[in-house]
């Protein structure tokens, strides 16, 4: 994937999140404060616009620009978390102008670690990590099994989707949802749902299917 593919990923993410903003907000209303879709729409639209104007000439620069934009514009818990994820992913790409399967894998891992360190959540706490964690693992398994970018990103997106479903029976232990304790059981985690969208956008772009 080259710089323009990474730009396309961000654009497609913004498009999907905008389209699904109400659903994300609805999920957050059930176990949080009902603003996740609003927050991410604001953040990703800003990131997309900022990117249009920015001279980000490497994939790493693109992701770091997005990270900063998300941090500056999103607010809430998800802003710093996703912002950090994109910044760390971008940093891990250094100056590369072309990103191969392995490199993308380690940048996804860097994203995971960034969220993990900042938010101090663990898989099973019913957060975005419960979609991202399985996705990173599935990606790496696929890549080690010889999958190309298309296959590995599809595996990641699918694993994220399964991870999202697995948040349903979980009891939230981080973020605002944790105040609800038992009452979070039976609901999807909104952050896990947005992670699915971002990874779906990645798979779409890798497959060359983005609009």
């Amino acid at each position: 994937m080259d710089t323009s593919a990474f730009r396309a990923w961000v654009h497609e993410s913004a498009r999907l999140i905008t389209a699904e903003a109400e659903e994300l907000t609805r999920l957050d209303a059930a176990i949080g404060d009902g603003d996740h879709g609003i927050n991410l729409r604001r953040g990703f639209q800003a990131a997309d616009e900022m990117l249009d104007k920015a001279e980000a000439e490497t994939p790493g620069a693109v992701l770091q620009t997005v990270g900063r934009a998300l941090i500056s514009k999103t607010g809430g818990a998800s802003g710093p978390l996703y912002g950090t994820a994109f910044r760390q992913a971008g940093k891990s790409l250094a100056d590369a102008t072309e990103v191969d399967v392995a490199r993308l894998g380690s940048s996804l891992e860097a994203a995971f670690n960034g969220i993990q360190q900042l938010g101090a959540a663990h898989e099973g706490d019913k957060t975005m990590l419960d979609a991202l964690g399985p996705a990173v693992t599935a990606y790496q398994v696929a890549a080690e099994g010889g999958a190309d970018l298309v296959g590995a990103t599809r595996a990641a997106a699918e694993a994220a989707e399964r991870g999202l479903q697995e948040t349903v029976p979980m009891l939230a232990r981080k973020g605002r949802a944790s105040y609800l304790g038992e009452r979070t059981i039976g609901h999807q985690d909104p952050g896990a749902a947005s992670t699915v969208l971002i990874l779906r956008a990645l798979a779409t772009v890798a497959a060359g299917e983005a609009t």
């Binding site: 009902g34 603003d35 941090i71 500056s72 607010g75 809430g76 818990a77 009891l171 973020g175 609800l180």
Partner: protein, 328 residues
Amino acid sequence: MKKLINAPDDVLTDALIGFGAAYPELTVNLEDRYITRGPTAGKVGLVSGGGSGHEPLHGGFVGYGMLDAACPGEVFTSPVPDQLLAATKAVNGGAGVLHIVKNYTGDVLNFQMAAELAGDDGLQVESVLVNDDVAVENSTYTAGRRGTGGTVFVEKIVGAAAERGADLATCAAIGREVNDRSRSFGVALTANVIPATGSPGFELGDNEIEIGVGIHGEPGRARGPMSTAREVAAIALEAIHADMPLDDEVMVMVNGLGGTPLIELYVVYAAVADWLKAHGGIITRNLVGDYITSLEMAGCSITVCRMTPDLTDLWDAPVQTPALRWGR
């Protein structure tokens, strides 16, 4: 949704414009979204912030004897690091800046990032985390207790200390002391409606109340039947008392959540005073009114702080803000 607004997306901007027009003695930075009285040379700068919808918190507490700046986020959404950083720089009088942060993941993370960025720029920043809401079990299985009414006490008392010249470490220590001595508990009679979504945060039956509600309408410990002011006061005070004994000199705030008539807060205050008297508590200071709200939610929260003579002295010190004023 029935609200006196122009458009859901414009609420914060319009409100900041209105606030700025109403309080010309304060500066509203619309670009960077903060309210400030400007820096005071040699004084520790106090910055707080959080999601909007809790007015007068925090903007209404900017002024002499209290905050130097407040950063409002979108409704119920924490502010972003950029605005916190801009405000932090704007109030730096050379003695460092203290962040007063309510304990919500979003607020904590955004303030933390701002503090790091400020540190990179060579500013000295400390922060005090407010987590006074006993409705949340303080366990390793949650994000920890929420910051609610205790924030008002922390901002006022640290504000007085800073005004008197306390250094950054002392301000932070006093803030933590006030937080350690403060506990809150809230009860909602109706839900609020976030402008951006237009629908109630939760559904409550005609005869139900939400016990231990958060200031964003986060559900609480339990739902219960509608009961009397006396029972509501007892529920809140018992929850607090179980966590921190109330048999001594205390300051009490009976706070309206936004949609409750003041006359009802007086009725609750009478019940609170009665309960405390019966349990050996002595109210030495009080606030009754809307100080930390949750949009149009009906209900109230009760906050108690165990006082010391020093804290009382700082509480009594002059304050001149839109929402709290005395002594000058």
